[in-house]
């Protein structure tokens, strides 16, 4: 099969109207989801009539019905079913699923093409960031003065929880979703992901999750913040069921996506792309998903136990029945701290990748970059209890956990070294993506240093649960993570959409967001040090100044983000057409034409050197190429007679 075969538009449109599969799309998904949700609700009413936990049983059944129905209606189970009965999908079916010749419609189907999934993820992430950001604006508006009364306590608490959860979920997928799916297969020279159908599944599971998550707002809200601590989650309204079910769905999606991306990177790199020739961004994505893979099941288990508690009256987290809230905290943070690096590593490595391009220099000390990432991944599994220093869980373990936590600052410093070394003597082109690198250097050093304060046990006793912590993790997750994702967006936008991101609005947005960001969270550090607890709907008059500063800064971020949104939409619709390689980068994704054909590469590339050979003498044509390290078949020598 050659690319010509794949792209040849069949004169007779694919004949086999084989099955119902070809008629399914997001519309049928929604219909099936609603039908099954109603059926499940009625069933649950019959089953649990008059039972203590009836509202929870009904809520859970309905949500489960929705998720299963939606996926059924999308056609997610077609593949497994056909496998079961021994009638595997034909080649024509696979091409249909890949979205061949379907135009825009393929974005609304169970489409398996990694580029479609990447774009879908990008839109989903922007929607989630928009939702979470709007909630942040409401929260900050409420906090503009000590007793603004803008929001009631219940609304406020729910908003704080939903803002947190939305943003955490969005930031977890914000780099590995859009760029991991779209760019990584291109970058490693593959035609698609290892498991294209699972790729689609991981995305549509998230779509199924969103209505579940936001139904919490109509089911009494969630009273316990995004961490969902028990036992307050045990006694919460059915909104907590929505939280719980959303996490369960998200965890499945993460497992599927993580396994898929890992397999793709491990087994599908182009011939000759040895581990030393693999771009650093690929390492970052790999580290992120490999870390998430064993971490999220702990969260899933925590929520399943909560499920038993709430729906069946179990006692996992209820002290007078032998349960223990510390169990939840342990399970949660066993996921929760690795998750921070799940967010951070791919964002930082995306910036490393583009820093080399915009400085026109090889990545400084590739080896330290890789070792740092590995060290962070390893250490991050051993630090979870630093979130529980003040919980009284195990005071004797505070010292050891302080040790592991502070050790993480060494490999993190390694990441800084790599970026600074790459900038050193570079020919720095301060386009929007590169500006994001500089912003990250500024923000992440503040986020990192304040992290060291929090790793220190006596200081943590004072600062834990205060606004200081809120400011700290916004500096890492937003100041470094989201900034990195924005840099990645500016960098890969031309390849993903075929158009350049408008420069002036991006510039305006950058300054609004970064200045607003620093104003907001420096103000928050201020009130945190003064002693304002987190998640309070009103506060002591002594914290007024800092909070007002924060709120004004937050509005500035909001406006900046709207400018960026405008820029993305308008550039996407009618921006300048992008050349194949606008930045002069050397990674493989820039070797494919715009728009990218269905299976990416006409001929699979063979890699003979890494992607950072800036300023180095190109290998002379006459010299024989080094033999690719992982080659199965022999590699042809360019320039040799074909």
């Amino acid at each position: 099969m050659t690319t010509a075969d794949i792209y040849k538009t069949d004169p007779s449109p694919v004949a086999p109207h084989g099955g119902i599969m070809r008629r399914l799309n997001v519309g049928t998904g929604i219909i099936a989801g609603i039908v099954l949700a109603v059926v499940a609700n009625v069933l649950a009413k019959k089953l649990a009539d008059g039972h203590t936990h009836e509202p929870d049983v009904r809520a859970v059944f309905t949500m489960f019905g929705w998720a299963v129905g939606f996926l059924l209606g999308m056609g997610a189970f077609t593949g497994p079913f056909r496998w079961l009965v021994g009638r595997d999908l034909t080649h024509a079916d696979e091409l249909f699923l890949a979205g061949k010749d379907q135009g825009v419609g393929r974005y609304f189907r169970f489409t398996t093409d990694h580029k479609v999934v990447g774009i879908q993820y990008l839109v989903l992430v922007m929607v989630m960031l928009g939702a979470g950001g709007s909630m942040a604006m409401l929260i900050r508006t409420d906090l503009i003065s000590p007793n603004s009364g803008f929001l009631g306590p219940q609304t406020y608490n729910s908003l704080v929880g939903l803002h947190g959860l939305t943003m955490i979920l969005a930031t977890i997928i914000m780099v590995t979703g859009p760029f991991g799916n779209f760019v990584v297969p291109l970058m490693i020279g593959a035609r698609d992901m290892a498991f294209p159908r699972l790729n689609a599944l991981s995305f549509w599971l998230l779509v199924a999750m969103l209505p579940i998550l936001y139904s919490a707002a109509f089911l009494g809200g969630i009273p316990m913040g995004w961490v969902g601590y028990t036992p307050i989650a045990d006694q919460g309204p059915p909104g907590v069921d929505a939280y719980m079910m959303a996490i369960l769905v998200f965890a499945v999606s993460t497992a599927v996506a993580g396994m898929n991306i890992t397999t793709t990177i491990v087994t599908m790199r182009a011939r000759g792309m040895t581990w030393t020739r693999t771009p650093i961004f690929v390492y970052g994505v790999l580290a992120s998903v490999v870390l998430a893979l064993p971490a999220f099941p702990f969260f899933m288990a925590a929520e399943l136990l909560l499920f038993v508690d709430r729906v069946m009256g179990g006692g996992f987290y209820v002290p007078n029945r032998g349960g223990q809230p510390w169990l939840y905290q342990n399970l949660f943070w066993l996921m929760g701290h690795p998750e921070v690096y799940v967010i951070l590593i791919p964002a930082v490595t995306a910036l490393m990748e583009l820093t080399a391009v915009f400085a026109r220099k090889p990545l400084f000390s590739f080896r330290i970059a890789v070792l740092s990432i590995i060290a962070i991944v390893g250490l991050s599994a051993t630090v979870w209890a630093h979130h529980m220093f003040a919980s009284g869980w195990a005071p004797d373990l505070n010292g050891p956990f302080m040790l592991t936590t502070e050790m993480i600052s060494i490999p993190t410093g390694g990441l800084f070294l790599v970026i600074l070394g790459t900038i050193w003597r570079g020919r720095i082109w301060t386009a929007f993506p590169m500006m994001c690198t500089y912003a990250m250097l500024w923000n992440f050093i503040i986020g990192g240093i304040t992290g060291i304060y929090l790793s220190d046990v006596p200081l943590d006793y004072q600062l834990h649960g205060s606004m200081f912590v809120t400011a700290h993790f916004h500096y890492t997750l937003m100041g470094a993570g989201l900034t990195g994702a924005m840099g990645a967006l500016g960098y890969w936008f031309p390849k993903m959409t075929g158009r350049m991101l408008g420069n002036t609005p991006a510039f305006v947005s950058f300054w609004l967001v970064q200045i607003g960001f620093n104003v907001t969270f420096l103000g928050m550090f201020m009130v945190g040090l003064q002693g304002q607890p987190r998640r309070v709907v009103h506060y002591d008059a002594s914290f007024h100044t800092g909070n007002t500063i924060s709120t004004l800064g937050a509005y500035c971020i909001g406006i900046g983000m709207l400018v960026l949104l405008y820029d993305v939409i308008s550039s996407w619709r009618h921006g300048d057409l992008a050349p194949m390689n606008p930045w002069g980068a050397k990674t493989l994704e820039w070797t494919v034409p715009n728009p990218i054909p269905l299976e990416n590469f006409a001929v699979l590339p063979v890699v003979t050197e890494d992607a950072y050979g800036y300023g180095e003498e190109p290998v002379p044509e006459s010299e024989p190429e080094p033999v690719p390290a992982s080659a199965g078949a022999e590699a042809d020598v360019p320039g040799a007679p074909a």
């Binding site: 306590p153 036992p231 006694q235 220099k361 003040a390 020919r427 082109w429 386009a431 250097l441 002693g531």
Partner: protein
Amino acid sequence: MSVETTPADRQGRSRSEELKTLTILWAIFTVLGVIFALIVPHHLMGPSASNTMTEVERTFTMFSVASAPVAAVVWALAVYSLMRWRRRGAWKEGDPDGPPLRGHGMTSGIWIFLSSALCLFLLIWGLAALSKVDSAAASGATPLEIDVTGQQWVWTFSYPSQGVESDQLVLPVNRPVVFKVTSDDVIHSFWLPEMGIKVDANPGVTTSTSTVPDRLGLYHVRCAELCGLLHADMETNARVVTSDDFDTWIAGQGGHA
């Protein structure tokens, strides 16, 4: 369109000049950072009301001072690179690349060594501070024991040896005090911001924390763990009084000293 000097010229420029400018930038940033570290945190955290808080503020200031040169390195390099090597205008096909610098063993080694050393220093400092904080209440006079109970959304303080229960916290100055904290319903977190102590109030178990209040005055008790609807209102006063006033207060509450 690039008005910059050629790479050969840049090589020619004296390296010591480069390092000099960088060092000056670094020194400026460090000094600014240290000044900031010495003044601002202490000012924001306010005068300390206990030996624990003194230790906390000292550690915070120390860490800030220690991290000022680190942040200064990063910022100096970032600023210098922009001043010195920024390209005017966009990249074009055929522009010369930067020097192919793929690593520098000495730099990396120094970097890793310094960050490890700094990390070790912070760790030792932290452990020392931790043991000081932990042993604070063990020294000196017999500690006053107070049972703290959180419930949605009030704090209750009971003084078992004195037989007093109150929704206000009153502490005698300069006497070690041990708080035994628990909760009746969900998790709360017992926080005395001015005294630098915090511990979660967990239902079903008792946790403890201790300090020595050393400054007379009116302070706050806050809840630092989201505990439901009126979490923001779950605060009360903590009064540090002289030993005599404390006895008077106990007597006034019907207790025995």
